[in-house]
């Protein structure tokens, strides 16, 4: 399942930074068992940006939280799978070992910075906390480090603003602080969970650009979780598309735009608003994401798929290799890729 990237600069020989292997995550609730992640595998190399794409409930965030080790267990359970970070299986480590990795070797950026930052402590305190806890620095040194970090993420007047509280910053500035906090100890892997979703469109590009720039500078692996295909195009190297807790397609990022290899990806691409199609109705994938307690048999996407045939309701499609490191979990992957199957008109 190795992803061969088309861009030779990004091919990293040796051990990948992160290898998620056949990961399963389920949530045990009063109403039953919700299967949020059903056998996800992906790899991230140092310096690589992997975009994880999918609707809400596709399992993209849950996978990331399992990697970080911040799932509440219970109700969550990981019945199967491995998460290898620099060759070592995180799921076999003690809680204390994993805690020490968090912040130092892997960090996470959350979507809503207003609720993700603690409202009652200054940003300087929250940034400095990384150095005080992980590096044993004094309050004073930690604050100096916090100012440095705020400069790094281009927050104006960092020296005075370091004592301000999260609510005193604009959304874009707050998200920069989240980025600074993740970068504080120069981790090897950053997971950004919808980092620009809560921001104004004009600010989105700035924040995304900053994140991509710093990622290159520090040569970190970046997992970019998003439902927005537009965000992905400029910064990601590779892309995995998730649906109902499974990866339905993986590909180098530009290949997927040119030629989607899975009906779901095709639907996502078709539902991006386009200027040249102004005035026409926007395409929408019909139906709703599946209930994770009752995932449809066969291919989970079959009730919404315009290409669905009988086999789709009975047999779980295996990943079909499509060349240049591409895979699509569709019975008709090759045909979809080449645009040969006709969609049923609904």
């Amino acid at each position: 399942m190795t992803i061969e990237t088309s861009d030779p600069v990004l091919v990293q020989p040796g051990v990948p930074l992160l290898e998620v292997e056949d990961l399963h995550v389920e949530f045990h609730t009063r109403d039953g068992v919700a299967k949020a992640v059903n056998g996800v595998s992906y790899k991230v190399h140092p310096g690589e940006t992997l975009a994880v794409l999918g609707e809400s409930g596709s399992g993209k965030s849950v996978t990331a939280q399992a990697v970080m080790g911040i799932l509440d267990m219970p109700p969550a359970r990981i019945p199967r799978g491995a998460i290898k970070f620099q060759g070592r299986d995180l799921l076999k480590m003690s809680n204390e070992e994993r805690r020490k990795l968090r912040g130092q070797r892997m960090a996470m950026i959350f979507q809503d910075s207003l609720s993700a930052l603690n409202p009652v402590y200054s940003v300087g305190f929250q940034l400095g906390e990384m150095f005080r806890v992980h590096r044993g620095m004094s309050r004073k040194d930690a604050k100096a480090k916090a100012v440095e970090l705020m400069d790094l993420v281009k927050i104006p007047a960092a020296r005075t603003r370091v004592n301000d509280y999260p609510h005193q910053f604009s959304g874009g500035m707050r998200q920069r602080i989240m980025i600074a906090m993740a970068l504080a100890l120069e981790p090897d892997l950053i997971i950004a969970d919808e980092p620009t979703t809560a921001l104004d469109v004009t600010v989105q590009a700035q924040v995304m650009g900053l994140l991509a720039e710093l990622q290159r500078e520090f040569h970190m692996g970046l997992i970019l979780i998003t439902h927005d295909l537009g965000v992905v195009a400029d910064v990601a190297d590779n892309i995995v598309v998730m649906y109902a807790g499974r990866i339905v397609e993986r590909a180098p990022v530009h290949a997927i735009y040119r030629q989607p290899g899975h009906p779901y990806t095709k639907g996502l691409l078709a539902s991006i608003p386009r200027l040249d199609l102004k005035g026409q109705d926007l395409y929408a994938i019909k139906g709703l994401p599946p209930n994770l307690m009752r995932i449809p048999s066969g291919c989970a996407f079959n009730p919404r798929c315009p290409y669905a045939r009988d086999v789709c309701t009975t047999e779980l499609p295996a990943a079909v290799p499509l060349g240049t490191g591409r895979e699509s979990a569709c019975h008709f992957a090759q045909a979809v890729l080449e645009g040969e199957v006709a969609a049923d008109v609904h």
Binding site: M68, R102, A107, A116, N118, P119, V120, E129, V133, H167
Partner: protein, 309 residues
């Protein structure tokens, strides 16, 4: 911050005037004549009653009486005289420190045990410890204080002989421990419930997930990030408890023979001793106002979003 405090202090003035006036009106309109009541079953001496009423200013119009009363407090710190001729202030000087000591024991007990139980059950929501705390707090809330007080008094002081069963005029700290625990028991139960709710609610907050993702040790996540955010409802409850525990300890003070505010106030109401009732309640109002001011200032300390609002 300075302007906030000044504004709050100014707001206290109308509240103070309003509450004291209401108390004054209520005591004034109690049925029966207080001087005649001193005669009990015997017939009152009309001439003496009339002269005494004049001396105490009871024949003046209500507003005039209230105005004079306020004037004396503000200008001379004079709360008037009780019917026995002693200044009310002397009585208050005697009873308030006793109740303050009792309330201090109760509040200390409330904070230490209430917060500990609340945090414990909040963090172990749905587990055994949580259920046990729930049962204990429900028991305390549903047992009347006079039952709880008597049972504890009998068990601890008489059966086990660990402390004196009653307190008396000296009111030593050691003797006030048992009454303080009984008085604080209900407050412990409420504080534990409020703390639990607050902890459970904040435990789900995004910033707690962030703190965990930062690799902070669990202990630090709880003490630094969770507790500080959970404290506002707790502080509110504790702040209003101080006033309640001082003035509302009538039953507890009765059981353990503590000559404090509640006991004295109860006696004064029975005897229709207006000046004593009004004096004590006025000081209680002041204590309530001071507590709520402190609570509001603590909000600002705890949450910067309030500070700069």
């Amino acid at each position: 911050m300075g302007r906030y405090v000044a504004r709050r202090l100014l707001q206290m003035i109308p509240v103070f005037l309003g509450t004291t006036f209401l108390i004054y009106v209520m005591v004034y309109s109690l049925p029966g004549d207080p001087i005649s009541a001193l005669y009990g079953d015997k017939a009152a001496d009309k001439v003496f009653v009339a002269s005494k009423r004049k001396e105490l200013g009871l024949d003046d119009p209500l507003v005039v009486q209230y105005f004079n009363y306020l004037k004396n407090i503000v200008l001379h710190w004079d709360f008037g005289k009780a019917f026995n001729g002693q200044p009310v202030w002397n009585e208050m000087k005697r009873v308030f420190p006793i109740s303050l000591k009792l309330a201090t024991v109760a509040i200390g007990f409330e904070i230490v045990v209430g917060v500990a139980l609340g945090v414990l059950s909040g963090l172990r929501r749905g587990k055994f410890a949580d259920r046990i705390v729930l049962v204990i707090t429900l028991l305390i809330i549903s047992i009347p204080i006079f039952v709880l007080g008597r049972v504890i008094q009998w068990t601890v002081a008489i059966k086990w002989d660990l402390t004196k069963p009653t307190v008396g005029g000296e009111a030593h700290w050691a003797d006030l421990m048992m009454p303080g625990f009984v008085l604080g028991a209900l407050a412990v139960a409420f504080l534990a419930r409020v703390t639990r709710t607050s902890i459970v609610e904040n435990l789900r907050a995004d910033y707690i997930r962030t703190a965990t993702a930062k690799g902070l040790p669990r202990r630090r996540v709880i003490t630094v990030h969770l507790l500080r955010n959970s404290m506002i409802p707790m502080v509110t409850l504790i702040g209003t408890d101080l006033g309640t525990l001082m003035g509302g300890a009538i039953v507890t003070e009765g059981i353990f023979n503590v000559p404090g505010v509640g006991y004295t106030l109860f006696q004064a109401i029975r005897l229709k001793e207006g000046p004593t009732v009004i004096g004590i309640v006025t000081v209680l109002v002041l204590i309530f106002l001071a507590c709520s001011l402190i609570v509001d200032l603590l909000y600002a300390v705890l949450d910067p979003r309030i500070r700069y609002a």
